[in-house]
Structure formats: C-alpha cells, structure tokens
C-alpha cells in the first residue's frame, strides 16, 4: 500500500470508529432517557406502573385547583374531558397555569393513584395547544378544532 493511501485509510478508520462509538453511546443514552407520554384516560385505565417516570398532558379541570394555606402544596386535576388524574405539586406554578388551560406534567403515580408532579409546563402562547394535549383530547374524542378556536378569542 502506498503511504498516502495508508494515511487516508487510517483517517477514514479513525472517523468510522469514533462515529460508531458515538452512535452506540448515543443510542444507549437515548434508550435510558425516554419519558413516555400518557393521556388521563390511559392512566385511569391502569396502563402506568407505580413510580414510573412519565408525562401526562391534558386540561386543568375547572374548579379543581386547591392550594394549601400553610405549605407550598397545590392540588389540581388534569382531564381529557373523559377521565381525570389528581395531581399534587410542591412548587411554584408557571405564569400561564390556569383552569381550563392545557398543561403537561412530569412525574410519577404513587400507590394511592395520586400523580406527584416534579415539573408543570404551561405553554407561553395562549393560542397554542401542544401536540400532547391535542392528542389526549383527540384520543378521548373531543374536537380540538373547537377547543382551540374557543381559546383564541
């Protein structure tokens, strides 16, 4: 083999090895960090294991918001207008959190069926309904077209 060929081969081999190592590590890291998304109906149907880290999307149920007087704790329900999940959160809610507004919560279900949220996300565009919330609505047979028009004005 000519020297310059050998050099080229070495460079190509170097790139190939680093790329495949990177791909392997990436896929491993990916598989470790997937948060599955569920709708309130799926949660009510018992599809989620206790303690499993998941996301739930839905609307904050009208009249469900309660705030403890002597601690940080707040309680509310996420609904897809068919089923609902009670949610507990110890922290400060985002500015756009309101009843009747779409939200996504991250956390896990405890043994009493209560969803303990570690993070609550509300969207900064009020006209905007996230894919997750929309999917939850559609899965429950609610017409999202009307929902989003209602939200707009």
């Amino acid at each position: 083999m000519k020297p310059h060929r050998r050099k080229r081969l070495a460079v190509v081999a170097f790139i190939a090895v680093s790329l495949s190592m990177a791909t392997g590590l990436t896929l491993f890291a990916l598989s470790q960090n997937i948060d599955l998304f569920y709708t309130p109906t799926q949660v009510a149907g018992g599809e989620v294991n206790i303690g499993q880290h998941i996301r739930i999307g839905g609307m904050v149920k009208e009249g469900s918001y309660e705030s403890a007087n002597d601690t940080m704790r707040v309680m509310f329900s996420a609904t897809d207008y068919v089923n609902e999940v009670p949610i507990q959160f110890d922290g400060i809610l985002p500015d756009l959190f309101r009843e009747g507004q779409g939200i996504v919560v991250e956390g896990a279900i405890d043994s009493n069926g209560l969803f303990v949220a570690s993070r609550v996300l509300a969207k900064h565009d009020e006209n905007y309904m996230s894919n997750e919330v929309k999917a939850a609505m559609e899965a429950a047979g609610v017409n999202t077209e009307n929902q989003s028009t209602l939200a707009e004005y």
Binding site: A29, N33, F37, S67, N69, D70, M72, D95, N131
Partner: protein, 663 residues
C-alpha cells in the same frame, strides 16, 4: 391603505428577488458582464423594499391599526411603544418578515464588502441568496402574510403581546439570533457559488472566513442572550433546558464552530475542501431546521408558534430543495474537491480534524435527541420526550474531549509534528493544570468535588497551553512586547475565543454543581438561610405599571451578618389579557447570583417563593462574549483585505505560465 403599501412593497421585493435569483446566475454561466453586474443593484432593491415592508408593519403597530390581523393579535393600545415597535417579531408572520429582512441585510453587506472578489463570484453568491430570498417571500405571501386584514369589522383593541415577551430580552434576542442564523446562508452561498464556478481554492476559503467568523460570533451572542433572558425571565433557575427550539441554534453553532476551524485548514493548507463545503451546507441546514421546528408546530416547545400544517409542509419543501439541491451539486462537483493528503498522522490538520469530528458528533446527537420524539411518534404512534439527562450524558464527555484537543491544536505544526515535541512543550503544562485543578478547588471548598477538579483542570489546561504558545511565539523576538504586537489579529481572535471556552466551562460546571435553591412559604418578617446567605422577607406593596398591576415584595439579604442590600421581586397581572407574570429580582455578581421569584399569596399575607444562589453563572455568558469577540477580531485580520491583489497576481502568473507552455 398604508398596510397595503407594505404588502405591495413585499411583492416588489419578491419580483426583484426572482430577477436576482436568475439573471446574475445565468450571466455568470454565460460570461455576460452586464447580467452579472445587475446583481448589486438588484440586491439593493430587494433590501430597500423589504425595509419599507418591515417599517410599515412597525408603523401599523405604533398606530394601533387593529384592522391588520397580525397587529390585532400581538398588540394592544396599552402596550408601551418600545414593545409595539418590536412586537413586529412577536409572532410567526412578523418574525419571518424580520428573518427575511435579515437575509436582505446580509445580502446588502455582501454586495458592499465584496469589492475584492471577481464579479462572476459575487454574481453567483448574490444569485443563490436571491433564490433563497424568493422562497422566503413566497412562503410569506402564500401562507403567512403579516399584512392580512380583518374585514369587515376590526376589533376595538388588540389581544396584547404575550406578557412573558414584554422585556428587554425580547427586544434584542430575536434579531441577534436571526442575524447569526441567517449569516450562515451567506457562507452557504459562498460554498454553492464555488461549487458552481468550480473554483474551490484557498481564495474561496479566504473570502468565506470573515463571513463565517462574524456570523458565528453573532450567533454566539444570540444564543447567549436567549439563555440569559430565559434565566431571568422564566425564573426556573436554569440557563439551558435542551428545549426543541433551543437545540437547532446550538446545532447550527456546533456545525458553524466546526466550519470556522475547517475553513482555516482549507485556507492555509488547501485540504479538507469537500468537508468544508459539506459543513457550510450543514450549518445552513441547521438554521432552516430551526425555522422548521419553531414554525411547523411538530415538536412541543415553549417557543412554538400557533401552528398551521401548511406552513410546516412549505418550510419542509424549502428545506428539502435547499439541502437536496446543494447535495446533488456537491456530488456532481466532488471530483473538483480532491485534496492532496500532504500531512502526517500527528499534525495540526489531524487535531483540527479531531475537533471537527467531535463537534459534528455532538451536533448529530443533539439533532437525534431533538427529532427522536417525532420519528418515534411516526413509527409507533406513542408520544415520548427526551430529557436533559440524555443531552448531558452525551455533551459533557464530548466537550471535555474537545477541550483536551484544544490545548494541543494551536501548539502543533502544520503537516507534521513530532510527538516528542508536543510532550516537551505540553508535558509540564499538563502536570501544572492537573495540580492546579486538584489543589485549588479543594483548598477553597474544603471538600473533594470531582466536578470542580475536572473543570478547573480543563480550564487551566486551556489557559496555560495558550500562554505557553504565546511565550513560544515571542521567544525569539528581541523584545517580548514587540513580539506580541507582531502576532496577527486572527491569532489573538483564536486565543480570545479559546479563553472564552475556559470561562464558559467553569461557569457551566460550577453553576450545575454548586447551585442552591429553596422553595418556601414565608410570612412577612420571617427569614431563611440559603447557602451562606440569609434572606429576610420584609413586606409587600401594591404597584401599578402602564399596562399591569401587581405586588412588589421586599427582601433584605445578608451574609455572615453583613447587609448586602435588598431584592424586590414582583408579581404582575397584565390588564389586557389578565395574564399573571413573575418578575424575579436578581442580585448579579461576578462570583454568584442571588435571586428570588414570587409564587402566590396564601394565608396571613404569606407568599410562596423560590430563592436561588447560583455561583459563577455569569461566567457562562462572559465566556460567550469572549468567544464572539474573538470571532469578530479574527475576521478583522488584514490579510482578508489584501486578497484581491494577490488573487489577481496569481491569475496573471498562471496565465503567463500557460502561455509559455503553449509557445
């Protein structure tokens, strides 16, 4: 009537950019001087009409013309004027107009600062940018016209600008980010022009470099501004969330960083040509991808605009045509890009190649993590999200590796460096860095923190190897100072940017590792310790702003009994929409930030609140400033201005040799 003028002006800009995207390109292919020379005036025309368009939109905002749908959706009579003017980019339609206007601005800059380039090259660059501009304006006219009217009955008042956007960050972050993003279109157009003309030489690399450096510098600032804004506005104590809309700028930045390094090799050594062209295409694709993700509504993100599927399809079309077209051209022209492999396995070329491989792998894994939920949903119909742990697991080791190479690269020589030379030069530097890294944080913190040890070692490695290199470069000069003065601007630019990397590394590591936060419920008069600081909640008072009402709280902060001052976070309700908004109070410092965000009021005027102590967080943005400064300084190197003479001389010489051979 006036909004129609804006629309009319937009259509004129469209017509001119069609001409710009065709005539100069054909002229360059046929060698028609007149047609090529139309590129500059047409560019000026496109710029002027887009400028008129965007000014008219701003005027419609200032004049509260709510018959324009975009204005009605994003403004309100109570909105302060500075936000009315900048609400132009407060939604999809207007922000795309800003995006296109930025492109026109870059095109104008190219047409002005290209006197040193041959006319056919300028014609091709501006022609390619003209095609892009045509596609963007067509997209606006077809799917998202900012001048659409509400007929027959316009609303009395507008729906108001999102309260989270009413902030200085909103005024400066989007334009800066867009300017950096769009700048890579210029570098892309240079690459395409070089492919079209078949002239992929050192001159092309030298012409591209200042543009790549400046775009990269602006993008760096744009991303840093976004991070800083999110930090103080959203009040969650973080500075980067790996959000699907934050990631494309980062992907573009990583490709761009690889590109500016690869361009250096292409310019100096004439190798890596095809790789450099590919990176230019990739960096540009990253910027289009960002637009696509933000505007198609395909991914869930805090930044996403209200979505419309037809827009997503349209942008995907632009994306497909631009990337597909350029890659096909790339394949056809591949034989042109043969480089001579004139370097050894240990050489500066190889270190820069390693830098490129690491950066591209990092960009690819961020890309994968960002789009994976979308692919996953397409295949399995299940919705998933990829959390920050994935990105951190990939990113931190890669960047640490990058920093190791960063110390060796500038010290090594082109073509061939002996390993023993590198060990001789850097052996002591490495040992000293390690010693500083182990001893310094341990003494100061009185504890063994692995994160701090690794971070300080790596930062010391960057700084010490840099100093050693400068010492070497001036060692043979009679006077050190004169020697330092003789070093080129681009060398100083490189060192400044690398120093910025060291600062950022310390900032990221220390903030992530040593931040403290407490969420508590406090009544007036109560106090709490966070880290070594004591926060006392004194009282609250009602406040009234131009378009909001709210509550302001008063905190006094002390450390070891010394009063440090007061913090006054606010909780506002914006009148037009009834949206609440939290304004945190920050005491910024070189070594630490203290900040308080208010939650809600509970019994006995007690409030929920989160209190943060964030050490070294400013170093992250300070690092970005150094990087951007370095990129800009390097672009100002005088050798970029002398290209034309040298280029013409070389052409003459080549001609003379050809003639001699012929005779």
């Amino acid at each position: 009537m006036i909004p129609e003028l804006g629309q009319f002006s937009l259509i004129l800009a469209f017509c001119l950019s069609i001409l710009l995207g065709s005539i100069p390109l054909v002229g360059a292919a046929k060698g028609n001087q007149l047609w090529m020379s139309l590129a500059r005036p047409l560019t000026a025309g496109v710029f002027v009409f887009l400028a008129i368009s965007i000014l008219i939109l701003a005027y419609a905002f200032v004049a509260d013309d709510f018959s324009v749908q975009f204005v009605a959706q994003h403004s309100n009579t109570l909105l302060p004027t500075r936000y009315k003017m900048t609400a132009v980019w407060g939604g999809h339609e207007g922000s795309f107009l800003l995006w296109t206007f930025m492109l026109a601005g870059w095109m104008l800059a190219v047409s002005i600062y290209s006197k040193s380039m041959p006319i056919d090259f300028v014609a091709r660059v501006l022609g390619v940018l003209g095609i892009l501009c045509t596609a963007y304006i067509l997209f606006m006219l077809a799917t998202s016209n900012p001048f659409d009217r509400i007929v027959p009955l316009p609303p009395q008042d507008g729906a108001d600008l999102n309260s989270a956007l009413q902030d200085i960050g909103f005024i400066i972050h989007p334009p800066t980010l867009y300017m950096g993003y769009v700048g890579f279109s210029v570098v892309f157009a240079f690459a395409i022009a070089a492919l079209l003309s078949g002239r992929l030489d050192a001159a092309w690399a030298r012409w591209s470099r200042p543009w790549a450096n400046v775009s990269w510098a602006i993008l760096t600032i744009g991303i840093a501004l976004g991070s800083w804004w999110a930090y103080y506005e959203l009040g969650w104590g973080g500075w980067w969330a790996w959000d699907p809309v934050e990631n494309p700028p980062l992907i573009t930045w990583l490709f761009g960083t690889a590109l500016i390094h690869s361009l250096a090799v292409t310019e100096k050594r004439g190798v890596f040509k095809s790789w450099t062209v590919l990176l230019a295409i990739l960096a540009f694709s990253g910027s289009l991808l960002g637009t696509f993700i933000t505007r198609s509504g395909l991914l869930t993100s805090v930044h996403a605009f209200a979505s419309d599927p037809s827009r997503g399809v349209f942008i995907l079309g632009i994306l497909g045509l631009a990337i597909g077209g350029s890659l096909i051209l790339f394949a056809f022209r591949a034989p042109l890009m043969k480089s001579n492999f004139g370097f050894d396995l240990v050489s500066r070329e190889i270190f820069l190649l390693t830098n490129n491989v690491i950066l591209v792998v990092a960009a690819a894994s961020v890309f994968l993590g960002t789009l994976f939920p979308m692919f996953y949903q397409a295949i399995t119909d299940d919705l998933i999200s990829i959390g920050p742990p994935y990105f951190n697991a990939i990113f931190i080791p890669l960047m640490s590796l990058l920093v190791l190479v960063l110390g060796v690269g500038p010290m090594s020589r082109w073509k061939k460096t002996s390993v023993s030379y590198l060990i001789e030069q850097l052996g002591k530097v490495a040992l000293t860095s390690l010693a500083i890294g182990v001893v310094l944080p341990t003494i100061i913190l009185l504890q063994v923190s692995w994160v701090a040890i690794v971070a300080v070692t790596l930062a010391a490695w960057i700084v010490l190897s840099m100093l050693k290199d400068m010492a070497n470069k001036t060692a043979n000069k009679a006077a050190r100072l004169a020697g330092l003065r003789a070093l080129s601007l681009s060398y100083y630019g490189m060192q400044a940017a690398h120093f910025g990397m060291a600062l950022m590394l310390i900032g990221v590591a220390f903030t992530s590792e040593f931040s403290e936060e407490k969420s508590v419920l406090l009544a007036p008069g109560e106090s709490i310790d966070v880290g070594s600081y004591n926060f006392t909640f004194n009282d609250t008072q009602a406040i009234t702003g131009p378009n909001y009402v709210g509550t302001q709280a008063d905190f006094s902060v002390s450390k070891n009994g010394n009063e440090l001052g007061n913090l006054n976070p606010e909780r506002r309700i914006y009148l037009a929409t009834g949206t609440p908004s939290t304004e945190m109070a920050i005491d910024a410092g070189f070594l630490r930030d203290l900040f308080v965000t208010l939650g809600e009021e509970k019994e006995n005027s007690a409030w929920t609140m989160t209190i943060y102590v964030k050490p070294f967080i400013r170093w992250i943005w300070l690092g970005a400033i150094f990087m951007a400064f370095g990129g800009t300084v390097a672009a100002g190197d005088k050798r970029y201005r002398r290209v034309r003479e040298r280029y013409l001389k070389r052409e003459e010489q080549a001609l003379a040799t050809n003639l001699q051979v012929a005779s």
